[in-house]
Amino acid sequence: MTAHIVSAFDEDLGKLRNLIAQMGGLAEDQFGKAIEALSTSDRVKAEHIIAADDKIDALEKEVEENAIKLIAMRQPMAGDLRAIMVAIRISSDLERIGDLAKNIAKRTLAVNEPLPRSVNAGMNRMADLALEQLADVLDAYASLDTQKASDVWHNDSRIDSLYNSVFRELLTYMMEDARTIGMCTHLLFGAKNIERIGDHTTNIAENIHYLVTGATIDGPRPKEDSTSLTPIESRTKK
């Protein structure tokens, strides 16, 4: 796209994009470390993550202030207007991802014992996929790549499938041994947080599509999280 005749406008839009890139980098970092902390029961790491969440919150505020200023001062039209709207929405998704990562770190402090091996493996696989999605969607934003964004949007169902199996596994543990209920409940929340992070990356993908094409992605997103729909078989039922 050709540059604006008034070059300061391009500088202002560039600043907004840089803020999003910064937020994205921080969110990736926070999430990656939160999963490590949970996997290895690293309380110190968890405390650091909880404290660092303020930085992401501050950046979201900065994005919002800059966006409002841009709208007032530049009267943006068409693609420029969409770019500013999308920056506000994406910063909100990234801020939520930061909060979810912080929440995962908090679970580390609550659980305070090593995770069962296969649950640990399952949650790590979920997290790897979600981290990959986050990285891909941030790349897609930087390069305005609608194909990459669309791939993230479609592939999120893989995280949902993994969540289904982690969920069932945790239920099994709890049904077999009531002493694990405390830990497993926290891990349920943790797994749910990872699944929610995946959902937020698909929001970002939708926004990238809107930014580039001016249209919303067609049709409902493929979802495979059946945990809220599958009836639970109670062991006491004979």
């Binding site: 604006h4 005749i5 008034v6 070059s7 300061a8 409002i68 200023k69 007032a72 001062m73 530049r74 009267q75």
Partner: protein, 278 residues
Amino acid sequence: MDAAVMEADTRHKTIMTPAEPLIMQQGTPKIVTEDVTVHYGDKQAIFPLDISIPDRAVSAFIGPSGCGKSTFLRCINRMNDTIPICRVGGRITIDGSDIYDPDLDVVQLRARVGMVFQKPNPFPKSIMENVAYGPRIHGLARSRTDLEEIVVNSLKRAGLFEEVKDRLDAPGTSLSGGQQQRLCIARAIAVNPEVILMDEPCSALDPIATARIEELISELRENYCIVIVTHSMQQAARVSQLTAFFHLGTLVEVGDTEAIFTNPQERRTQDYIMGRFG
């Protein structure tokens, strides 16, 4: 207190937005006015006006038609002197010196304080002569080569040189509207002004020519004090660092452009900016 007196007091009190505008804290102001009033015969057009205009910045005067912004602008280079029934009161200083001092050379003042008008008004001369005229009569060039250098530099700084370098002898009036306006800006710059006054410089231009002039204004402000009167508040938002809102001859509110356009304090300013009254 008497209601009429109270009303008069609040009418004349200028609001600063924010309370200590950032733009006014950057260095010594270039232009300072104290209790400036303007009358056309018996009709008062400007009520006692105090404002400090910063150097190396763009200050925009906005307000509805007839609010006095152009009248006030013309006080700064004493163009109002040419109107017989016009009377200016109060004090206006540039760099601390009173420009209405009877000993002051008005012609010199108008070289220091250049002006660009709404309708581009090149002289009926060649492009070269348009720009050379001012430096020549002010004796700013020692030789023909000197003069040509001044012309070329001014045309370059006004962003016009590339488009006209092969036809400097062509008439100024053969240029497009946007080019003519840039020629007028080159003409104003050629005499080394310190202040450039612009009275609705883009009103007669299309959006692209307007954008080019706005980009030029952004570049020029690094070296000059620029004051622009505009009836487009969107333009004021785009180009200026300080915005002053005029209404019925009073300076209602003045401050950082960003603050005025995102959070003005005076209801009248807010109504005008939001397009809720004309």
